[in-house]
Structures are given as structure tokens and as C-alpha cells.
């Protein structure tokens, strides 16, 4: 099982949350709202394409709209493999972080 980078993880979750409305901009906006960080469009775009290459996402073509100057959208959806990867990453995360919160709390007091 491959480790997902933080950004990839974020992106996958965003796609999951956005269900049918996940495309470049919506994912971008979601992440900006969530993290408060001003990431650039490309820094969302690269992980999206990487995940497609890895097989965790698959794409669909959407309707063109005047707001986009007549260009169509590219929608992303999680694949089975993508879901599995997320689940595995989550369990790994839980394993790794088990008991760490307590340690962090105790070092704070010192």
C-alpha cells in the first residue's frame, strides 16, 4: 500500500465530500476554506492528476459554460482503489497517532 502525501489525502477527501460536484475549482475552494491556506490552483491540480494516474480517481467530462469561456469541466470521482487507499491510510494514521495526543499534552505542561 502506498502512502498518500498530505495534499493527496486532502484532495481525496475533498473529492469524496463533494460527491458529484468535484472538479478543479470546487476542490480548490474546498481546500482553501478548510485549511485557510492560500494554495495555488496548480498545487491542487498536480495531486489530482497524480491520483488519476495512480488509479484512485477517474475523470468525466462536464458541460461547457460561458463562465469558463465555453470550455468544459473535468469532474473527478473516487474509484474503488481510491476508497481502499483512503481507508488504509486512515487506519495507518490511527495506528501511528495512537497515544501521541497524550504525549503531546504532557510535554506542553513542562
Amino acid at each position: 500500500m502506498e502512502l498518500l502525501t498530505k495534499l493527496e489525502e486532502l484532495v481525496l477527501i475533498a473529492v469524496l465530500r463533494l460527491k458529484d460536484k468535484a472538479y478543479g475549482i470546487s476542490v480548490f475552494n474546498y481546500i482553501v476554506d478548510l485549511t485557510g491556506k492560500e494554495v495555488s490552483v496548480s498545487s491542487v491540480y498536480f495531486p489530482l492528476e497524480r491520483l488519476v494516474r495512480k488509479g484512485y480517481l477517474h475523470t468525466m467530462k462536464g458541460e461547457p459554460s460561458p463562465q469558463r469561456g465555453g470550455m468544459s469541466k473535468r469532474y473527478y470521482k473516487l474509484t474503488k482503489a481510491g476508497v481502499k487507499a483512503l481507508k488504509e491510510n486512515r487506519s495507518l494514521h490511527e495506528t501511528v497517532w495512537k497515544g501521541v495526543s497524550e504525549i503531546l499534552k504532557s510535554t506542553e505542561e513542562v
Binding site: 475549482i25 490552483v41 492528476e49 461547457p64 469558463r68 469561456g69 470550455m71 468544459s72
Partner: protein, 335 residues
Amino acid sequence: MSKPPKLAKFLLKILSSREKDEAYLGDIEELFHDRAKCQGPWHSKRWYWWEIVKSIPRFVKESIRWRMTMLGNYFKVTFRNMKVHKGYSFINIGGLAVGIACCLLIFSWARYELSFDRFHKNARDIYRLVSEFHSPGGEINYTETNQAPLAAVLKDKYPEIVNSTRALRWEWKVGRENMQFEESIWLVDPAFVDMFTISFIQGDPATALSNPESIVLTESLAKKHFLNENPMGKTVIAGQRTPLIVSGVIKDIPQNSHLYLDALMPIIFSKKAGLNLDEWSGFNFMTYVQLQKGISGKDVEQKIKYVLKDYFPETTTSIQLQPLTEVHLYALGGG
């Protein structure tokens, strides 16, 4: 609704090769509109430009990769096709190849033939004298040879004629002791080396042809008989027992010239062979004239056509000028 900068959009659009590129462009545009609402058109336009510029290297790389892939695919299909239709492909491609090769050859050859004598600096102003004979039986003959005094007469009499020279073509045995070969020697007036573009490697062009018993060798002839020795001042034997002093060495005459000769000698030497250079009786000498720059050959030809009548009132012979560049390709006469 303000629009995103056209140039930037166009730039990226032409580099877009796949669907996701278009989607990216659309995303950027959407963001542009959002920003335009918040920050105003000027800021959002700047942002747009900046995003585009950032993405250009990526797009260029992808575009190249994509086009190369397509090219590779075309090749694959081509070779696959050829394998399946071997015979037809062979005939088709082979025929094309032969046709193109022939075309190139013909073109090269034609160009070569047409390039004769064009390298001379004065090529456009040099003409060969052609004499038109009317024989008593009514026939008209043309000859490239003329009388001996004609060259000098033309030069003196007509200001349009700037220079003139005669030439004799001899095939003569030349060489050193016991090593003689038949070479093509031209006997010429000293003006010959001025009119035509002849480069002297050794010797002085002004004086090389003053001594009647001297000879000017071309580079290859000098190498042939003298190898690496300096031939200047040395003696070669011509004919049976005629010694000649080497007074100059010239660069070989290029092959695309009708002056293809191996050596030059002064024309006065021909006196020893019995030719009289002041007589009007014989038609033995090729004659070339050089006109003033820019003057039309036809005009001068009209002027000098019947010059012989000044000396021989009953003659029916007239003179024509043949341009140097036509000498190789065209027959004498006409006009």
C-alpha cells in the same frame, strides 16, 4: 462581465493538447471571474496573466511530448502498412525516388551547362567575333576565326570597344627531357589576361607574355612536369626542340569554361610558325572584344558589322558579336 486577457488565453489554448488542459484553462477562467467580482478587473487580469505564465513551461513540455507520440504513431502505421503491401509500396516509393533523382540530375546538368564562362568578371561585356561569309555560290558560312589585324583595328576605331584580344588554339607536345605530353596551348595577346579572369599564382600578369619564347603554365601542368619544384625561369621543351622559359603559373581554368587550356603563350610566337600577324589574308585567329560596361552588344554589332568594307570595298563578309556566355551552348551565326 469582464473578459480574461485574450492574448494570454490564446497562448495557452494553442499549446493545449489534451482534454485536461482545456479543463484547466476553464478552471482558471472561472477563478478569474470570481476574483473580478472581489478585486476588480485590473487585479484579476494580472492574476490571470501570472497563472498562465506559470503554466506555460508545463504546457510546452506536454505539447512536445504529445506531438512526438503522434509522430511515432504515424511512423508505426506507415511501416505496418508497407509491410502488408510490399509490392505496391516498393513500386510507388521506388518510382518516386527514381523520378526525383532524375529530376535532380537533369537540373544539375542544365545548371552546369548554363554556367559556362560566367565566372569571368567582365563576362557580360565580352563578345566573340564571328565572321559571316558569303561564298560566290550563294552559301552563307559562319566562322569563329577572323583576320589577324581585326582586333587592334576594332579597338582603335570604336570607343565602345574597350579591349580586344586574339587567340590561337594549338595542340602541342610540351614537357621536360623525354617527358612530353600533348597539351592544349592558347597563344594570346597580353590583353587576354586582363579581359578574362585569370589568376596568376606566380609571375607578373603584365609582363609574363612579353617574351615570345615564354610560356605560362597552369598549376596542374606545372605540378605534372615540375612536381614540387618552382618552375619559374626554368625551361620546358615544346615540339621537337623548342625551348621555352616558364614566365608564370596560373590557377587552373575552371571546367565550366570554353577556355579550357593547359598553358598560355604570347601570340607573337606564332610568327616562328610562319603566321603573319599583320596580314588580312588569313582567317586564323579567334578574336574577343570587351565592350564598355552597360553598352548593348546589338548596338555595337550594328556599328561594326561592315567594318571590313572600309578596307576591302568589295567584300561580302560581315561581322557579328557573340556573347561570351553563349559561346558554349549556341551555334555560330544567326542574327
